[in-house]
């Protein structure tokens, strides 16, 4: 009987041992499981139509039409994949295509009904890879970009770094970018060395390189308020003047725009967002800007999203900008022949501007218009007016697919 009992216990133990957990074969928590397959996180599509009019075109020396239309579109895809170490790799691919028509560009060579630059397409793809430790929130990444249009090519590269505090209430971001550009030099028709119809259109190409760094700190101040400070010094070197823009002098002569080959820029900005009550949000932005050409500007923006429901909001906004112009600016026919650098580009003059408009945003849980994949849609319109009598309108549609 004892033998039978012992045999039964041994048999039972042997069965148990086959199901016993050993340290090497620990079953991991299924909730912590991360698929290593490539996952499509989201797709964003942004489309915008912009139209402007004014009467201070730099191509014709600060007088003449500034009519311009721009139809801009971009699509970006976010895909992610977990690596062997459990870190998240996010790839962000973006493709942008702008199509514009510019009445002033036709004045580079007025004898042509439509010059090549009067309508153009700009195509700009970019790819960013970011590796993130989701436990700490820290990440780093690289970006490569390219841009091409009729007279301009650009190759860019950058790095980005994010550090998050332990309580995840403070975040530090660093970015560094370099753009190596090549600009085809196009002179106004009367200033070309081999003048006349069918003559040489340009005098070669010139480089324009830009280097920028960005440091920002964001901080949660309390349960309703958070802020961000950002400093973004940058340096440009190369052909910074637009050579097809004319400058008229006091003695009646005309020359192509000439500006220094170096430019240092220093913008410092602050964002402050506050959730007021249950329906109102205050999104504020202020920027101070100064550069080595003597431009100094203050920009302030306030947007007040009103949440009419959890999934629908209306956001009126207002932006004001005031700038002291560059020391190289003078209007049509006012430049002295003794000047080394000169421009009649009103974009660089002393001015102030107002931009006012509103946006609506839909993000229903069952998808926009019942389409589950469309998780978010924004429509935004704004009217811009500048003290130099330039006005413009911009309307933008942004759709997020998930």
């Amino acid at each position: 009987m004892k033998k039978i009992s012992l045999a039964a216990i041994a048999f039972y133990m042997s069965i148990l041992s086959t199901f016993a957990q050993t340290p090497e074969r620990t079953v991991s928590d299924s909730s912590a499981y991360q698929s290593r397959k490539l996952k499509l996180e989201e797709v964003n599509f942004v489309s915008s139509h912009y139209r402007q009019d004014g009467n201070n075109s730099a191509v014709t020396g600060g007088i003449g039409t500034e009519k311009l239309t721009d139809f801009a579109n971009s699509i970006d895809l976010h895909v992610s994949k977990y690596g062997l170490s459990g870190r998240k790799n996010t790839f962000n691919f973006e493709l942008g295509i702008d199509t514009y028509t510019s009445a002033s560009s036709d004045k580079i060579d007025p004898t042509t009904i439509s010059s090549a630059s009067s309508s153009d397409i700009r195509i700009y793809p970019s790819l960013n890879w970011t590796r993130e430790d989701e436990k700490t929130g820290n990440s780093f990444g690289f970006t490569g970009s390219y841009s091409t249009e009729y007279d301009y090519q650009s190759v860019g590269a950058g790095i980005n770094l994010t550090r998050l505090s332990k309580d995840k209430n403070r975040q530090f971001d660093f970015k560094a970018q370099a753009f190596l550009d090549t600009w085809k030099v196009i002179l106004p028709i009367e200033l070309r060395s081999v003048g006349g119809r069918g003559g040489e259109k340009s005098s070669g190409s010139s480089p324009r390189n830009s280097f920028s760094t960005s440091f920002s700190i964001s901080q949660v101040i309390n349960q309703r308020l958070q802020a961000l400070i950002i400093v973004e010094p940058s340096y440009q070197h190369g052909l910074l003047a637009t050579k097809y823009q004319r400058d008229y002098f006091t003695d009646g002569t005309v020359r192509a725009e000439n500006l220094p080959g170096d430019r240092y820029k220093l913008p410092i900005a602050l964002r402050l967002n506050y959730f007021m009550g249950d329906q109102f949000i205050l999104r504020s932005f202020y920027r101070f800007y100064t550069d080595s050409w003597g431009i100094r500007a203050h920009t302030a923006e306030l947007e007040v999203p009103i949440k009419l429901s959890s999934f629908f909001s209306v956001s009126p906004f207002y932006r004001y900008n005031k700038q002291d112009g560059t020391r190289y600016f003078a209007p049509y026919g006012k430049h002295s022949t003794a000047e080394t650098y000169y421009t009649s580009d009103y974009d660089l003059s002393s001015l102030h501007s107002n931009f006012i408009g509103a946006g609506i945003r839909l993000s229903p849980p069952n998808g926009v218009l019942g389409v589950q994949r469309i998780s978010d849609m924004e429509l935004r319109y704004g009217h811009y007016s500048r003290s130099t009598d330039l006005t413009s309108d911009a309307i933008t549609l942004a759709v997020k697919f998930k």
Binding site: S154, F179, I221, Y289, D347, L390, A394
Partner: protein
Amino acid sequence: MITIKYIVPITFLLTDNMKKKICGLAVFVALSSAFTACSSVKAYQKNKLNDSEMELTARKSQKFEQSFELYREGASGANGGKSGGGCGCN
């Protein structure tokens, strides 16, 4: 009332440059105070902060607005917009 009585006449004695420096200092002090006075907010207390409208970045729909502002004004940068690369500058 004493403050108003004495401070208001003093502001007339200041040059524009001094006033700007004082304003800058006041903003710096206010921001420093705000940052140092931060309370530790737990993850479960962040339902308002996590609202998509509270993001400390420009909206996706502002992307192209920032581009035209860059070309129509001399100032650029520090707003999440384009800071170089490609012209598109008509």
